[in-house]
């Protein structure tokens, strides 16, 4: 994303900046912005389609894509040093640990042990596994 350096980069650039010059200067950011808006629109549309069990998969997939776009381009993670990338990843890794081990408890509860409210709701909706 190397934007061409603007000619008169001094503080007193000409007052009325032409739109085309402005677009050319921020070409990179505008492309990224457009990508984000498209992804947002996509996830919005997909939410209304009858995807059934695939809903969480698609909505989370697109959200992760948007997050990566913002992190890599807007937050310049692409050119940061390894330590900073490690710091960025550390939060997510240990969040993953919290998710997986907590889910391990809830998903592996045998039929007799789960919450009473859960047993009640599962009794009412037989087609739910």
């Amino acid at each position: 994303m190397s934007a061409r350096p603007h000619k008169a980069a001094s503080a007193a650039e000409p007052r009325e900046k032409t739109l085309r010059a402005w677009l050319r200067e921020f070409r990179a950011e505008l492309i990224v912005w457009l990508a984000l808006m498209l992804l947002a629109a996509a996830t919005f549309v997909l939410a209304y389609l009858p995807l059934g069990p695939f809903h969480p998969l698609t909505s989370m997939g697109i959200a992760v894509a948007k997050a990566l776009v913002v992190a890599l381009f807007f937050m310049h993670l692409k050119r940061e040093s390894a330590t900073i990338r490690l710091a960025a990843a550390a939060g997510l890794v240990f969040l993953g640990v919290l998710f997986t081990l907590t889910l391990a408890d809830y998903l592996s509860r045998p039929p007799g042990v789960e919450l009473d409210a859960v047993r009640a709701t599962r009794a009412q909706t037989p087609q739910q596994p």
Binding site: F94, L101, T102, D105, V113, L115, V118
Partner: protein, 603 residues
């Protein structure tokens, strides 16, 4: 005790080097202390505040032990007892055990040990102290206003629906103190990453710096989850936003998952700095390099990482699924392995050393013994069937007190005594200190070993009245507590005494290796008159009558390596001196000149 051979301590002979030119000398007004950004002064502020919290929590502990002297509760009512043990838990965990070593010894020594002028974000460091004080103030205010009776674990639904104590005020206090810990963590990690002096490679860092680094990792990755759990408690109590409310289908076990995801790594936040201090003290007073330096570093990082996988062993009896319990039990056994490695390495460090018994060495070896017992009883609690029997009994109370009081508090006292000459420029009275250390070790064992037996007999935790057959063990424990209380008061007395009447310590009274001992004590404001240069490995000790050879622990750099480092150090020294204009007086430069390693003639 007096015939034990002691190192004859080299005193500071030069009268006018010392107080005036040190970090303590440049202004003693209240304002200069309250707005200081000097990491050494902030360490002193933390030392004062954590000591006050320590004696506040300790007073609650004495009350509890006196109450349990008799089977039927007669000193306190049930309500008052519940609020007392909650006060003891909250104050000790969040305002003494978690902050004390990283903020007192860590703040003071880390920049010195890596040759930096200050921590990376000095103002954030001061802000962290203020957060700690505000949080502590709120928690103490909640206690004075009537206290909390939920225990320091705040288990729902009791804490959110049924408790009528000041839960929200305490939760806000702890929430604020949590951000103080996060601020310290950020400061320490960035300092170690960016401010190491030239030659201070990662594997030349002293193990105390590694311990603080590993602790900061845990602080940063676990405290936010505690902050959110406290927000959820406050949201449910004040605004009725019941996330854990069983009537709505909420699950109190989910609260326990989120709470223990913080609270188990928190116990590693408490013990890792202690391990770092103990390594420094044992290597100095055994005059030997640490045994297996790289294994010790990987053990520290191993504990920090695996410590996040094991929290489920607090919930074996809570209705957590049996398969998850087995998984957590397995991971809990794994996390015990690095601790075992460290204990064996400390013991091996003593092999073929020149061991002397200064007070800090007594505390350090006491730490190794008591931490071993604490860690091994952790194995009992990690195996599911045994934990089902002894969970929530005094066996657990004894286990975590062995690690926290026997381990961490002994390590803190070891560090306090070891670096006292560096912090204050004064020497404490050695003989009295040895008596206090021995008394603390004896008092501790008398207090908490009977509680293992109580736990095995089934005495539950947090009972203020108990069946009469447990009384004999409680009487022993309460007697031990009195000795322990006295053993804690003694150091406070003679350390304060030494501030005025103590002998003046030189730069390096213990003849220890490490950058902090190469500058003056108490150190000047910017720590070093000229940037120190590191060329040898860390812990450059070797026993008195041992030849310097090619042995495993005397690894020498070959000449090409040393020449290369001297070249780039000279170049960076020139660049550094150009950027720095300290008013270096003649004596300051002479006193802090890098001391030549004394070949073979050691004291």
């Amino acid at each position: 005790m007096s015939d034990i051979p002691l190192r004859d301590v080299r005193l500071e002979t030069d009268p006018h080097v010392g107080f005036e030119t040190s970090y303590l000398g440049e202004g003693f007004s209240l304002w200069s202390w309250l707005t200081t950004t000097d990491h050494k002064r902030i360490a002193i502020l933390y030392l004062i505040s954590t000591t006050i919290f320590f004696f506040l929590g300790g007073a609650a502990a004495v009350l509890i032990r006196l109450e349990l002297f008799t089977p039927q509760g007669d000193l306190l009512t049930a309500e008052a007892y519940n609020r007392t043990f909650t006060l003891h838990g909250v104050i000790m965990v969040w305002f003494f055990l978690v902050p004390v070593i990283p903020t007192v010894l860590g703040n003071f020594l880390l920049p010195l040990m890596i040759g930096a002028k200050d921590v990376a974000f000095p103002r954030l460091n001061l802000f962290s102290w203020y957060l700690n004080i505000i949080g502590g103030g709120l928690a103490v205010a909640a206690m004075l206003a009537g206290g909390v009776d939920t225990g320091w674990t705040f288990y729902t639904p009791y804490s959110t629906i049924y408790s009528n104590g000041h839960v929200s005020l305490t939760a806000i206090g702890v929430f604020v103190a949590g951000f103080s810990t996060i601020a310290t963590g950020i400061n320490m990690i960035v300092t170690v990453h960016t401010l190491r002096t030239n030659g201070m490679r990662w594997f030349r860092l002293p193990l105390f710096v590694w311990a603080i680094y590993a602790t900061s990792l845990i602080m940063l990755l676990s405290t936010p989850v505690l902050a959110m759990v406290l927000v959820l408690i406050i949201a449910e109590r004040l605004f009725g936003l019941g996330v854990f409310n069983p009537d709505l289908g909420g699950d109190p076990i989910l609260f326990q998952h989120l709470f223990w995801f913080y609270s188990h790594p928190a116990v590693y936040i408490m013990i890792l700095p202690g391990m770092g201090v103990v390594t420094e003290v044992i290597t100095c007073f055994a005059r030997r390099r640490v045994f297996g330096y790289q294994f010790m570093v990987y053990a520290l990082l191993g504990i920090a990482v695996i410590g996040f996988f094991v929290w489920g062993h607090h919930m074996f009896t809570s209705g957590q699924s049996m398969y998850a319990s087995l998984a957590f039990s397995m991971l809990s056994f794994l996390v015990a392995v690095p601790s075992a490695i460290k204990v064996f390495n400390w013991t091996a460090t003593l092999y073929r050393g020149q061991i002397t018994w200064e007070a800090s060495m007594i505390y350090a070896l006491g730490f190794v013994g008591l931490f071993t017992m604490g860690g091994l009883t952790g194995l009992f609690l990690a195996s599911v069937p045994v934990d089902i029997h002894v969970h929530d009994t005094y066996f657990v109370v004894a286990h975590f007190h062995y690690i926290m009081v026997g381990g961490m508090v002994s390590a803190f006292f070891a560090g306090l005594h070891f670096w006292w000459p560096k912090i204050t420029g004064r020497l404490y009275p050695e003989f009295v200190a040895q008596i206090a250390a021995g008394m603390m070790f004896a008092g501790f064992n008398l207090t908490f070993f009977p509680q293992f037996i109580l736990g095995n007999l089934g005495m539950p935790r947090r009972y203020y009245a108990y069946p009469p057959e447990f009384q004999v063990w409680h009487v022993l424990s309460s007697a031990g507590a009195v000795i322990l209380a006295f053993a804690y008061l003694l150091p406070m007395a003679y350390l304060l005494w030494s501030l005025i009447w103590g002998k003046r310590a030189g730069d390096n009274p213990w003849d220890a290796s490490g950058l902090e001992w190469q500058t003056r004590s108490p150190p000047p404001k910017h720590n070093f008159v000229e940037a120190p240069f590191v060329s040898e490995d860390v812990y450059d000790y070797h026993p008195e009558n041992a030849p310097r050879g090619s042995g495993a622990d005397d690894r020498r750099y070959d000449d090409r390596d040393i020449a290369g480092e001297k070249a780039d150090a000279a170049e960076s020294g020139r660049r550094h001196r150009a950027a720095e204009t300290p008013p270096a007086t003649a004596q300051a430069r002479r006193a802090s000149k890098t001391r030549e390693p004394s070949d073979g003639e050691g004291r």
